[in-house]
């Protein structure tokens, strides 16, 4: 399977970060009430995301990260949801040969999103199998 051009990944990430940020303002349409109280997070979370590459190869990502700062609930949900969706989207637009690139781009995009939300995101471990 031919590798997707690097530029496609970058484009996707940029688009997705934009959508992720925009979705913060639409979060109320999809399951999070408008009245939500900002709260100090300051703790570790983890996530296991299963996805498929463009050539059908299954991939499982394990991520552990720490969020420090204050987030409203809709931003908290949006940040966590974006972690899953960005990984799934990047995986489905790449092959297993791109895995390292995918994770680099994933971290960059989520760092951008967390910066926009005003919190610090620290990656403890990001792996795949």
């Amino acid at each position: 399977m031919k590798l997707k051009p690097y530029t496609i990944l970058l484009g996707l990430v940029a688009t997705f970060v934009f959508l992720g940020y925009f979705s913060i303002h639409q979060a109320s349409n999809y399951g999070v009430a408008l009245e939500n109280t900002p709260q100090q997070v300051n703790r570790v979370f983890s996530d296991t995301v299963t996805a498929k590459h463009s050539d059908g190869t299954p991939i499982t990502y394990n991520v552990k990260y720490r969020i420090d700062g204050t987030l409203s609930q809709s931003n908290f949900v949006s940040l966590k949801s974006n972690i899953r969706y960005t990984l799934q989207m990047l995986a489905s637009n790449s092959t297993e040969f791109d895995d390292k690139t995918v994770l680099d781009e994933f971290k960059k995009s989520l760092n951008t999103l967390s910066n926009m939300m005003g919190v610090k995101l620290t990656w403890i471990s990001v792996g795949y199998y």
């Binding site: 009430a33 899953r84 969706y85």
Partner: protein, 364 residues
């Protein structure tokens, strides 16, 4: 969880899947229909799901649709550029409409959400449910009391994501309602998330449950609309041979497309003489049973020689995309092809018309 599929999507199956999932995880037996001792869990879920579905009856996903529109627009434009020195591209009615819909979609979505308030909506649904059902305020996830005994903010979320989330999502036999801005249904109603909502956001478990069920309905409605619109957008493209003559325009009948087209006073109105065809009465035949726009794209990329597709408008105002081998059978099927655009192997378009004198299709 399942990916949304317009062909298999069914509201009743969704509601049953939600009920089946809930009865194993929440004390749903406390819900009864008022005035009876009958368990009302099915009616309760149905009521909330339908409230969400109805609320989102006009919602669409602007990003997904614009991406689809752009694809259809680009493929058509590419085909037109290859013919008659590209002069079709300047006055093609379909390109104009695809572009116009693209430009209007954001305005349309903004107009829908102008007065929309999710919290107000959920409060109304909750109030309505309390009139009809008893026991709602006792609704909790199983083992809720034990879990919340020494609860601190966000506790249990990491463990849930590590060990239980995938199991729950695999078991939930309904459409995945998770988005880039919201959790899937199983996560929303899981113990740690319900506890966080209750203790740190002041939202009772009932409220969280109603949010999750209603959202499942909203996502179902929106995805149905998206699928319908994608289908109709493709039909606009394939129904219409190149023309700058508005009296020969054919559009699929659709309230959604009309609403999008008309949402801006400065938008391009439908031509007065346009013909509108009920999409339910259309028959689409494709030898490969794949979307026509995919076929056209394949032809562009591979020049496979499979370009024996005929686009036709039928005399009885039904419309059909018809494979060459189906052309001969069309009379047997009771359709009369009166005009068509045929795409040849070299990506050229030829226009055909039915000549009653010779009883055959002829180029013109």
């Amino acid at each position: 969880m399942k990916k949304f599929n317009a062909n298999t999507f069914n509201k009743d199956s969704e509601i049953s899947a939600i009920v089946n999932f809930l009865v194993d995880r929440w004390n749903m037996d406390v819900v009864t229909l008022k005035g009876t001792s009958n368990n009302g869990v099915m009616e309760f879920v149905e009521k909330v799901y339908n409230a969400g579905f109805d609320a989102a009856s006009k919602w669409i996903d602007r990003y997904a649709l614009n991406s689809h529109l752009y694809d259809v627009y680009t493929i058509r434009r590419r085909l037109l550029l290859k013919n008659e020195n590209g002069e079709f591209v300047h006055n093609d009615v379909v390109l104009m409409y695809l572009y116009n819909i693209m430009m209007n979609i954001s305005d349309y979505v903004d107009s829908i959400f102008h007065d929309w308030d999710y919290s107000d909506f959920i409060n109304l649904v909750q109030k309505d449910c309390k009139v009809k059902f008893n026991g709602l305020t006792k609704l909790k996830p199983n083992t809720y009391k034990e879990f919340t005994k020494d609860y601190s903010a966000f506790s249990g979320m990491e463990e849930y994501a590590d060990s239980q989330q995938q199991i729950d999502e695999d078991e939930f036999d309904a459409v995945d309602s998770g988005t880039a801005s919201s959790f899937s249904f199983p996560v929303q109603i899981s113990l740690p998330h319900v506890a966080y909502d209750d203790i740190h956001q002041g939202r009772h478990p009932l409220y969280t449950l109603i949010c999750a069920i209603a959202t499942q309905g909203m996502v179902g409605a929106q995805k149905s609309n998206d699928a319908e619109l994608k289908h109709l957008i493709s039909l606009i493209d394939i129904l219409q041979e190149h023309t700058d003559d508005s009296s020969r325009c054919v559009f699929p009948k659709s309230d959604l497309i009309e609403a999008i087209i008309r949402c801006r006073p400065t938008g391009v109105p439908f031509p007065e003489n346009a013909t509108f065809v009920d999409p339910d009465k259309m028959i689409i035949c494709s030898s490969d049973e794949i979307d026509v726009e995919c076929d056209l794209e394949l032809l562009q990329q591979e020049n496979t020689g499979k370009a024996d597709k005929v686009l036709a408008k039928l005399k009885n105002d039904h419309s059909v995309v018809i494979h060459n081998k189906w052309l001969e059978q069309s009379n047997e099927l009771g359709y009369k092809v009166t005009c068509a655009v045929v795409e040849y192997n070299d990506n050229k378009l030829a226009k055909l018309r039915f000549n009653p004198e010779t009883d055959s299709m002829e180029t013109y």
